[in-house]
Subunit: 465 residues, 2 copies
């Protein structure tokens, strides 16, 4: 199967546009291609006519002579097999089946329809995403997510590829939340019931995609043997780029729920956290960890072998809590030697030297100014005793200027050490956050997220060793 046809189509046909409902998924997709993408776009409806001033073709015969790479199919489930066969005989090699009503219904009829799709795909060597999915978002080539533009904001183009068994999960937890957190994605794929094209094909594709620096999965379960093949492929891929899996259906009740959702046999005991670890797959245990790992692997980072963290804070309380959370995630927060403590003290503005705490966490107090942070960060980044730094940087006091993000980013980039900034994501401080993020320094919105970012990088380091 040729996935290029579905990821980078030159011409698409949307089968099932509606004359009566402009919010029909296929109509939304048609309009997106028509107006937002440089892809030749056709529509099919047996009634013919016009939509958005474009001719609607009655059937494939009327399209004769056109070269089309991809069909997007959004018709009633019972019609899908015949439409897919028509696509194939027309010469189309890729299809995305939006329609639901297949294996996920747990009905005999649904499963039979899904089996027919598999047979046709095999017969014609088709790449087929779905059914029961929202398809692919792969800017600037393709977007089949049938959400009106006013309801959703797409994340910036970037380096994370995400493959999900749940379309809504992809939209809500990835597309929207990556946007808010300014994480860039290279592609997002909703695989639905994965009747034909599975995570196995996709991991292969994105392993070799030069834009993609890390691959994230939301998975609920595998069919027989699929799990074993997946972890093997993941291990191969992990030699080149991180593979992160968030697994739905980890609990007994959750596993029951996956069956109603994607008809996949969820989490046989064999596919556990231990297996993931053994195959160098990074497991995100919560939605927040997934976000943190995405920040980690799309930002500037360096190996974290020992996990010895230096905490540079503007607040004693934040220092204490950060230390607790570091410990919970298996990091050490070692004492700073007296020699280094004295050096750091000398770098602080003279009148506040007596107020600061230095053992690690270093608490520069609310009296700290940009230059204190800059000088002391520059100093501690050189210390061999630590392999990572967490900045707890609060903007509420007047000593911290709005330039501090960009200013500290310059300092950080002069060193080869992972630094994460905890900094509250408030609109009024956007300029500070931007200072960090434009320089590719990860910014965490909670203390726990700061530690989780380091944790993701550390897992990756240990897998590579």
């Amino acid at each position: 199967m040729d996935l290029e046809k579905i990821f980078k189509p030159h011409a698409v046909v949307v089968v099932g546009v509606s004359h009566s409902n402009p919010f029909n998924p296929s109509n939304i997709i048609f309009k997106k291609f028509l107006y937002e993408y440089e892809v030749k776009t056709f529509a099919i409806n047996p009634k013919g006519g016009f939509i958005e001033g474009c001719r609607v073709y009655r059937n494939f015969d009327e399209l004769s002579g056109e070269i089309i790479d991809l069909a997007i199919i959004a018709v009633r489930a019972t019609l899908v097999p015949s439409v897919l066969e028509a696509c194939a005989t027309f010469g189309i090699k890729g299809a995305i089946i939006i329609s639901a009503g297949f294996g996920e219904t747990e009905s005999e009829e649904g499963q039979k329809l899904q089996d027919q799709i598999v047979v046709i795909a095999k017969k014609y060597d088709l790449a087929v995403i779905g059914p029961n999915c929202i398809g692919i978002y792969h800017p600037p080539f393709i977007d089949t997510f049938f959400l009106p533009s006013e309801r959703i904001s797409a994340p910036r183009p970037g380096t994370i590829a995400v493959i999900s068994q749940s379309g809504a999960w992809l939209v809500d937890q990835i597309i929207e939340k990556f946007s808010i957190n300014n994480i860039g994605i290279s592609a997002a794929i909703s695989i639905g019931n994965k009747a034909v094209t599975t995570e196995l094909d996709l991991i292969e594709y994105f392993k070799n995609d030069p834009k993609t620096k890390a691959i994230f999965f939301y998975l609920e379960g595998f069919r027989e043997f699929e799990g074993r093949n997946f972890v093997k492929k993941a291990r191969e891929c992990a030699k080149i780029k991180p593979v992160v899996v968030f697994k739905g259906g980890q609990s007994e009740a959750g596993r029951r729920a996956t069956i109603s959702h994607t008809s996949s046999l969820a989490g046989s005991q064999a596919v556990t956290s231990d297996i993931f670890k053994q195959f160098n797959i990074i497991e995100a245990r919560t939605e927040k960890e997934m976000m943190a790992f995405a920040k980690a692997f799309s930002s500037l980072h360096f190996p974290i072998r020992e996990g010895r963290v230096l905490i540079l804070s503007v607040s004693g309380g934040h220092g204490v809590v950060t230390t607790d959370v570091c410990t919970r995630y298996g990091f050490q927060v070692p004492l700073l030697s007296e020699e280094h403590q004295e050096k750091v003290r000398e770098l602080m503005t003279e009148e506040y030297r007596s107020l600061i705490a230095l053992q690690n966490p270093i608490d520069l107090t609310a009296s700290a100014q940009d230059k204190d942070f800059e000088k002391i960060l520059d100093y501690v980044l050189d210390l061999q005793e630590f392999d990572s730094v967490i900045l707890c940087l609060l903007p509420y006091t007047v000593g911290i200027s709005f330039q501090i993000g960009a200013r500290l980013a310059v300092t950080i980039k002069n060193h080869q050490k992972t630094v994460v900034a905890y900094f509250p994501r408030l609109e009024r401080y956007e300029v500070i956050i931007r200072g960090f993020e434009l320089n590719n320094i990860p910014v965490a919105d909670s203390i726990e997220e700061a530690v989780q970012i380091l944790y993701g990088i550390r897992l990756r380091t240990l897998f590579l060793d």
Copy 2:
């Protein structure tokens, strides 16, 4: 000691305003009182003169004849004892000492100065907050948080009182994050080194404060015997309103850090999670749990005894993950009986009945409309088999209107059962969130937070039983 004098002062004096630095903490506090509070406000600086067009008094003698409730002291640490004594002899019964440089410095001199404060306070029966603190925010009476108004946004007045050993923690994690999450507070107090007035006095005060419905603490540690007295007082208080503690310094390294921060003997092994539980104190284990519990106790809620959750979702993936998280927090997600499943199916819009999943989680799919949610929620809220409901409600599809928040809130208020809505906190969907929150229905920004809200309520229910 009379805490009313510091929580509801009629007249205050700010000692230590600066003629050279308008960003001096005392100047910021002075301006806040002057322009934002209806409190008679005086300033003292030995040089006299004028600030903001107001006379600056050289000393207390010049204030003779005035009746003042509260002094805010922000002078060099070495001067604090004499200033405090001057306040007391003038007749002021309350003081907030902003200045740092006392016990927290771990120096002999700092400890000596702090001891002097204690002696003076005892001698004159003063209520003294601090030193090394940012004081009190208690709208509409008092605000000594010395942050320029453009750097901070205060949360709305509400029902949660927060007492913190870290001022920066209070500002960042409570004042700012409660604002973002639309949680109202009744008061916020930074107790700093708590040399005189401690959490023991404050829990007593807020236990009897009719505005306050729950009391939250960020604590790092206790002095000798203080811990034991605290948990006893907390248990008394918990008979009337929830007491929630987030404990800094839980790890070995974190405990070391608390000593540099607030010179308090942190977390003797005696004060553990077990002790908290034994004394009916709800422990927030993470910053996110603290936020979730604040949402829980400031919203409409009913006892959750058994912890049997019904999940009503617009997405299969969210249903699966919510089930997993429920299980992790000790909740059950029991099967819906076939009889009830059939009833729910009949309530769904006919053309989508075959697509929905019903076992619990109930997945209404992206085809669901407002009326489907409304009818089905109304039905399941009557079921005795469940004592709480999580709504996984995504706004991305066109079937969900912007009225859904207010509309479902009406349904919820017709029943006596705790409902939490997971709903992404995006500006563009503010009107939906407002629909819930104006009706006092808690809205969670992550699936985990939704479950944590129920978890907090359940802990409270079990303590009351």
